[in-house]
C-alpha cells in the first residue's frame, strides 16, 4: 500500500513539480513532432531519390518544414528569413544549376556513387551516437514558450543592431566579396583568346597605320 501510495504521490508530484510530462504532450509538441517527421522524411527523400529535379523539390518541403519549426519555437523573424532566402532563392539557384549542367530529367542510375554503403554506415553510426548523447543530455529540459516571444522582429532587430552591428556589417562585405567572386568565376575565360583575332582583323587596317605614322618619326628622331 505504501508502494502504491508512493507511486501515486510521485506521479502526482512529478508533473506538478515541473509542470511537464512525457505522457502529456502539449499541442505545440505534437505539432512540432508531426512537422519534424515530415521534414525528416523529405530530407531522406532528398538524399536518396534518383531524380535530380525531384531532390530539389523535396528540399523545398524540408526547408519549409524547418520554417514551420522556427515558427513553433516562436522565432518568427528567422522563419520568414528562412522562407525568403532558402525556399525563395537557394532552391531556385540549385534548380538553375541543375538545368545549366544539363541534368537528366527522369531517373539517373548513377546518382549515388559506389561508396553509398560506407556512407550509410557512417551516417547511421553518427546519428545513433548524436541522438543518444543529445537525448540523454536534455532529457529533463523544457523550453518555456509561454512568455514573450523570443524571436519577434522587434527583439531580433534590437539585438542585431545593438549588439551585433559590427559582424552584421562584416557580413555585408562578405556578401559583396561572394558576389564579385561568383562573377569572376562564371565569366568565360575562353572568350578572351578569341576576340583578339576579331579585333586585330578589324584594327589591322587602322591601328597599325596610326602607330606607324606616330612611332616611326619618334624612332627616327631617337635614331638620329
Amino acid at each position: 500500500m505504501t508502494l502504491t501510495a508512493a507511486v501515486a504521490a510521485a506521479s502526482t508530484t512529478a508533473p506538478s513539480a515541473e509542470g511537464h510530462g512525457f505522457l502529456s504532450p502539449t499541442g505545440v509538441e505534437v505539432a512540432f513532432l508531426l512537422v519534424g517527421l515530415l521534414t525528416f522524411g523529405a530530407a531522406l527523400v532528398t538524399v536518396t531519390t534518383r531524380q535530380l529535379v525531384h531532390a530539389a523539390l523535396w528540399l523545398v518541403v524540408a526547408l519549409g518544414g524547418l520554417a514551420v519549426e522556427y515558427l513553433l519555437l516562436s522565432a518568427e523573424f528567422i522563419a520568414w528569413v528562412q522562407v525568403l532566402i532558402y525556399v525563395g532563392s537557394v532552391v531556385v539557384l540549385l534548380l538553375f544549376g541543375l538545368m545549366l549542367t544539363k541534368a537528366p530529367i527522369g531517373r539517373s542510375p548513377d546518382a549515388d556513387s559506389g561508396n553509398r554503403w560506407v556512407a550509410l554506415i557512417v551516417a547511421v553510426a553518427a546519428a545513433a551516437t548524436l541522438v543518444w548523447v543529445v537525448a540523454d543530455a536534455f532529457r529533463a529540459t523544457w523550453i518555456d514558450l509561454d512568455g514573450a516571444p523570443a524571436g519577434s522582429t522587434e527583439v531580433t532587430g534590437e539585438s542585431l543592431f545593438r549588439n551585433w552591428v559590427l559582424p552584421f556589417e562584416g557580413l555585408s562585405v562578405l556578401l559583396l566579396a561572394a558576389l564579385v567572386g561568383a562573377i569572376v568565376l562564371s565569366r568565360k575565360a575562353k572568350e578572351e583568346p578569341s576576340p583578339p583575332p576579331v579585333n586585330s582583323h578589324a584594327g589591322a587596317g587602322s591601328s597599325p597605320s596610326v602607330p606607324d605614322s606616330r612611332n616611326h618619326p619618334i624612332e627616327q628622331e631617337g635614331a638620329l
Binding site: 511537464h20 502539449t26 505545440v28 509538441e29 512540432f32 519534424g36 521534414t39 525528416f40 530530407a43 532528398t46 538524399v47 535530380l52 528540399l59 524540408a62 526547408l63 519549426e69 522565432a75 528567422i78 528562412q82 532558402y86 539557384l93 540549385l94 538553375f96 544549376g97 549542367t101 539517373s108 549515388d112 556513387s113 559506389g114 561508396n115 553509398r116 560506407v118 556512407a119 550509410l120 557512417v122 551516417a123 547511421v124 548524436l130 541522438v131 543529445v134 537525448a135 536534455f138 523544457w142 523550453i143 518555456d144 514558450l145 523570443a150 524571436g151 527583439v155 531580433t156 539585438s159 549588439n163 551585433w164 557580413l171 566579396a177 561572394a178 561568383a182 568565376l185 562564371s186 568565360k188
Partner: protein, 129 residues
C-alpha cells in the same frame, strides 16, 4: 516544449545531410546535402537561443543573430559553389565529382579516368571548334 525534440531532429537532419554528402555523385546534389547540414545547425541554434532567453533571461540573442549570419553565409556559399560547379562543367563537360581526380595520388585506376576525360575534352574541343 521538450528541448530534446528539436535537438534530436537537428541531429537526424545533420546525419541525413552527412549521408548525402558522402554518397551523392552529382556536385549539385552534394550542395543540397550541405544545405541540409547547415539547416540542422540553424535549428539547434534557434532552439537553444529560445531556451536560454527564457531560462537564463539572456537578452543578447546570440543564437538567433548567429542563425541569420549562417543563413547569409549559406547563401554566399551556394552562389560560389554553383559558380565553381558551372565552371567545372564548362571545362570538363561533367558535374560528376567522382571523375574529378586530377589531383589524386599515384597511378592506377585513375589512368583510365583521365584518359576518358582527355578524350571527352578533345571531343568537346572539336565540338566547340
Amino acid at each position: 516544449m521538450h528541448l530534446a525534440l528539436p535537438a534530436v531532429l537537428s541531429a537526424l537532419l545533420f546525419c541525413t545531410g552527412l549521408y548525402g554528402v558522402l554518397a551523392r555523385r552529382n556536385a549539385i546534389l552534394v550542395l543540397m546535402s550541405v544545405e541540409l547540414m547547415l539547416n540542422a545547425v540553424n535549428l539547434n541554434l534557434v532552439a537553444f537561443d529560445v531556451w536560454l532567453s527564457s531560462t537564463a533571461e539572456d537578452t543578447l540573442h546570440s543564437g538567433q543573430a548567429l542563425t541569420l549570419f549562417t543563413i547569409a553565409v549559406a547563401a554566399a556559399e551556394i552562389g560560389i559553389g554553383l559558380a565553381i560547379v558551372l565552371a567545372v562543367y564548362r571545362n570538363r563537360g561533367t558535374s560528376d565529382i567522382d571523375k574529378l581526380r586530377d589531383t589524386a595520388e599515384g597511378p592506377g585506376p585513375d589512368d583510365s579516368d583521365s584518359d576518358a576525360l582527355a578524350a571527352e575534352r578533345a571531343e568537346k574541343a572539336e565540338a566547340s571548334a
